[in-house]
């Protein structure tokens, strides 16, 4: 493969490219689906090929091919060159790459239990057991589970990234993921639904740690109880305690995305949108002093794990919000060059035929000092939201809505009865400014972040501790 990568870069150089970057990527994925207790087709997918990205007269061109022959790789280089040259005529600001130091390494995430050692029958049996226990758990409460889809994905991502200015990074990262959509139904109470993802990097041991049958049984119990007993949510001004699932989502949506430098430059304006932050927003206060949001690709076992990004830059922890103040943006080499900083290793591509763009990895709120009991004890009347279904945020990442699923009323420091669908519809600054206490726990949840055009879904973790919001207005 190395020779094809070299060929791609050298040929682009011989055509006149100022910069060339070639990437071989192979993603081999196996998916097992259980639909309402029955297996669907087992699905294997292999995507592999080479992409080449070039700079010509300050314009970026990209081409990919899944044909790994010398002729077709050269043709891809030539196409990337032609695409860039054609675009150069409506370029005003020339693109350049920053002078970050670039890696020359090989890295591999080892699997303790290899995916090959677990056959499809075993995976299906695991899901069937989880489904059976969920149905039985719901039935004990006279609740039905009329629909439930569960999926286990295992995949290997192998990459070789090289650039004309010296990057040479090989990586092999296995990942496993689970997702579920469950519907609980009761003739008098209607329906409630729960969707969530789990994921991590490593081998089958990740899946074993999830203890899926017990976990899904518990989810069925909770969903049934929500359906049967959750009452009307209070609205108006109140204190709210958010669980890690929601805190992680909020970090991702209202801190991670606005910090993407390509959004700040308007690159995503017609798709996922822009951001309320500007190039000069470093130092802007957006939350209370307790708010520290980071994005860290280097977390062992994380779903968004990588050590070098897809431009060959070493990954590191990024402090996006420090003590409530915007501290750092997420950069690739292109945006870093515009901002006059160094890339912090945020370039990721979801497949061989996608160009690297600025992405998050594992975004979370850093823990504070409080136990969950301490967070609760100072709340006279309030709401505790543990999980969610509906959410969205505007394309400037400023107005967002989260609708709780598992939620409770709090009275005099104690968790009381379940409530249904509390709505938190607030601005980014309004939300982060209301944080008055941060828990010392820390949990992560997997997600697939969507960005780019064509859409690039990439694995990420989102996470955080419990937090307390003081005096927020519920209802939207």
């Amino acid at each position: 493969m190395e020779d094809l990568i070299e060929l791609a870069m050298n040929y682009a150089g011989s055509l006149g490219a100022e910069y060339a970057e070639a990437r071989f990527q192979r993603d081999i994925q196996e998916t097992v689906i259980l639909k309402n207790g029955f297996p669907e087709a087992a699905v294997l997918e292999e995507k592999k090929g080479i992409s080449i990205r070039v700079l010509v007269d300050g314009a970026l061109g990209f081409a990919s091919t899944d044909s790994l022959t010398r002729r077709d790789v050269k043709a891809a280089s030539s196409r990337a060159f032609k695409m860039a040259r054609a675009s150069a005529r409506i370029m005003h600001e020339k693109v350049s790459m920053d002078d970050s130091s670039l890696g020359n390494v090989k890295m591999e995430v080892k699997q303790r239990i290899g995916f090959d050692s677990v056959d499809i029958e075993s995976k299906t049996s695991l899901l069937k057991e989880a489904y059976k226990r969920a149905v039985e758990e719901a039935a004990e409460r006279n609740v039905k589970v009329p629909a439930c889809s569960m999926t286990i994905d295992t995949w290997m991502t192998e990459k070789l990234v090289a650039s004309s200015d010296g990057a040479y990074v090989y990586s092999l990262i296995p990942r496993a993921a689970f997702s579920m959509l469950m519907t609980a139904f009761h003739p008098q109470k209607g329906s409630a639904q729960r969707f969530f993802d789990l994921g991590g990097s490593g081998g089958w041991e990740i899946v074993e740690r999830w203890s899926l049958p017990s976990l899904i049984e518990k989810e069925a119990e909770t969903l049934s109880e929500i359906l049967l007993s959750a009452g009307k949510s209070p609205s108006g001004k109140t204190d709210v305690i958010l669980g890690p699932e929601l805190v992680g989502l909020i970090c991702h949506e209202s801190s991670g995305h606005p910090s993407e430098a390509d959004r700040i430059l308007g690159r995503e304006a017609a798709q996922a949108g822009e951001t309320y932050l500007k190039k000069d927003s470093i130092g802007l206060r957006v939350g209370s002093r307790l708010v520290n949001v980071v994005d860290d690709p280097t977390l062992d076992g994380s779903f968004g794990f990588y050590l070098y990004d897809d431009e060959g830059v070493k990954a590191r922890k990024r402090m996006l919000i420090k003590e409530g103040v915007i501290n750092e943006f997420l950069h690739n080499r292109e945006t870093a060059s515009v901002f006059g900083v160094k890339s912090n290793g945020s370039a990721r591509a979801s497949a061989f035929d996608r160009e690297p763009i600025v992405r998050m990895a594992n975004t979370y709120l850093e823990p504070g000092d409080y136990s969950v009991e301490e967070l609760l004890e100072d709340v006279k009347e309030g709401v505790y939201i543990r999980s969610f279904m509906e959410w969205n945020i505007d394309d400037r990442r400023f107005n967002q809505r989260y609708v709780g699923l598992e939620a409770y009323r709090i009275s005099k420091g104690e968790i009381k009865e379940r409530i249904r669908n509390p709505v938190l519809e607030v601005t980014t600054i309004g939300l982060w400014s209301s944080v008055d206490a941060v828990g010392r726990d820390l949990e992560f949840q997997a997600a697939y972040c969507g960005k780019g055009d064509p859409l690039q879904g990439i694995p990420v973790w989102v996470g955080g501790p419990h937090v307390r919001l003081r005096g927020v207005i519920l209802g939207g």
């Binding site: 087992a42 294997l44 299906t124 329906s191």
Partner: protein, 443 residues
């Protein structure tokens, strides 16, 4: 091995190795995407891909794969591996043999229109769109242009061997007059002669100019005039969630609704990939079944779900030619037009809101249809039949079935819509919705 021979070879091999049914679908696709922002191209991309989808069944045991098309030996190894996996896979709920051909297809749908992949010509389209938006007063313009040609060769164990060509163009243009004032529009076409990037740019620019200096909107229930981008987003949800697979897993508000009045009588929704020259036109589905015009909603009544042979067997009906080997899906959605002009619809609204675009639609509960989505770009207050002012920062928080029932009117003018938010090509009018719920941030 040549591409045209490979599909049948794979199917024959799978049958020889013990499959009861097999499909091989070879896709040869060239695709150019040009992305632009701040009035300039940010990256131009060329994708050249040749892949093969293989699906096989050993009665109720099923396996599927997508791999790059490569050597004969590699394809053979893949088939053998897939057979092994299918044998190990526990049996599915039921077995439905693949539909038995041979079928005859509409020749007009088998031949794709000619679409140029000349980079200079395509960059020229981008220039046209940007200049048209700037002429209307936009300060900066962003978007995406796509052009593709593809050839599909399909063989199945149901005596199907067929190939079709497709080609299409689309452009999505977002124009800004300020950080908080923008407009968006698109042009999509399966026929290069009808592709109109200038018009997309012009309309985006017009909306952005009209949306200047927006004030914060107020929440409440309003009569809403939804532009084609918004109504396409909502109505494509109806089309997508009419997939019998999604109904089966509870990911649809159409569960148990066939035969029921789910919408106002003025709404009829059809999935029609048989319109030659349209963006989503195609001759056959992934099982080789000829596509057909499927009425999903007729005068407000849900007539059917969309099926492949597997879901059709489960529901005791015939396939609708919408396979997806695992999940059926719509190809080319069409909303029947109303009788009034846009101006007539506007004139009949005393107090309302005109929404020109939306994105980020998420469900609280798929089964009930409770959801919210975020209006973006031009949002306008309507007073006494005229646009009064521009507003911002509102959210549509309502229920899909309620919205469908609250359709008051549809325009006779329709637009084809497809962009980042709306994946299925959809021909849609403007729509007036009674009593639509708008919310906003509380702090």
């Amino acid at each position: 091995m040549k591409k045209d021979e490979a599909a049948s070879y794979i199917v024959d091999l799978a049958l020889r190795r013990g499959a009861t049914d097999a499909v091989a679908n070879i896709h040869d696709r060239q695709h150019i995407m040009i992305r632009f922002s701040n009035n300039e191209v940010t990256i131009s991309k060329f994708y050249d891909e040749l892949t093969v989808d293989i699906f096989l069944m050993i009665k109720r045991r099923r396996a599927a794969t997508t791999i790059p098309f490569s050597s004969t030996r590699s394809l053979e190894k893949t088939v053998e591996r897939l057979i092994k996996i299918a044998r190990m896979t526990p049996p599915s709920e039921l077995y439905a043999p693949l539909p038995e051909g041979p079928f005859s297809y509409d020749p007009k749908l088998l031949r794709g229109s000619k679409v140029s992949l000349n980079p200079d010509k395509l960059v020229g389209y981008v220039e046209e769109a940007i200049n048209a938006a700037l002429k209307e007063g936009a300060k900066k313009v962003a978007g995406t242009l796509n052009a593709f040609v593809e050839r599909t060769v399909l063989a199945t164990s149901g005596n199907v061997y067929a190939s079709q060509e497709r080609g299409a163009l689309d452009i999505s243009v977002r124009a800004f007059t300020s950080d908080i004032s923008s407009g968006h529009f698109v042009s999509i076409s399966g026929d290069e002669d009808e592709f109109n990037p200038s018009e997309a740019g012009r309309i985006a620019g017009e909306i952005a100019a009209a949306a200047s200096n927006p004030k914060l909107g107020e929440p409440g229930r309003f009569t809403a005039l939804l532009g084609p981008l918004v109504f396409a987003d909502l109505i494509s949800q109806v089309g997508i969630l009419s997939s019998a697979f999604l109904v089966d897993i509870g990911q649809s508000f159409l569960v148990d609704k066939v035969g029921s009045q789910v919408a106002c009588e003025k709404l009829s929704l059809i999935d029609d990939p048989t319109v030659a020259g349209s963006y989503g036109a195609r001759a056959f589905d992934d099982e080789g079944v000829p596509t057909r015009r499927n009425v999903i909603i007729e005068r407000g009544v849900l007539k059917r779900y969309l099926h492949n042979s597997m879901t059709a067997k489960k529901y005791g009906v015939e396939t609708t030619g919408n396979a997806g080997l695992i999940s059926p899906h719509p190809w080319n959605l069409i909303v029947e037009p109303g009788e009034k002009s846009f101006e007539d619809l506007l004139a009949e609204i005393d107090r309302g809101i005109y929404v020109t675009n939306d994105w980020y639609l998420r469900y609280q509960n798929y089964r009930t249809g409770d959801f919210s989505t975020i209006p973006r770009d031009g949002i306008f207050l309507i007073r006494d039949g005229s646009i009064e002012s521009s507003v911002r920062e509102l959210r549509i928080s309502d229920n899909m079935l309620r919205i469908l029932r609250n359709i008051r009117d549809l325009s006779r003018t329709r637009r084809w819509i497809k962009w980042w938010e709306v994946d299925v090509p959809t021909l849609t009018p403007y729509a007036v919705i009674e009593d639509l719920n708008f919310t906003k941030s509380t702090m």
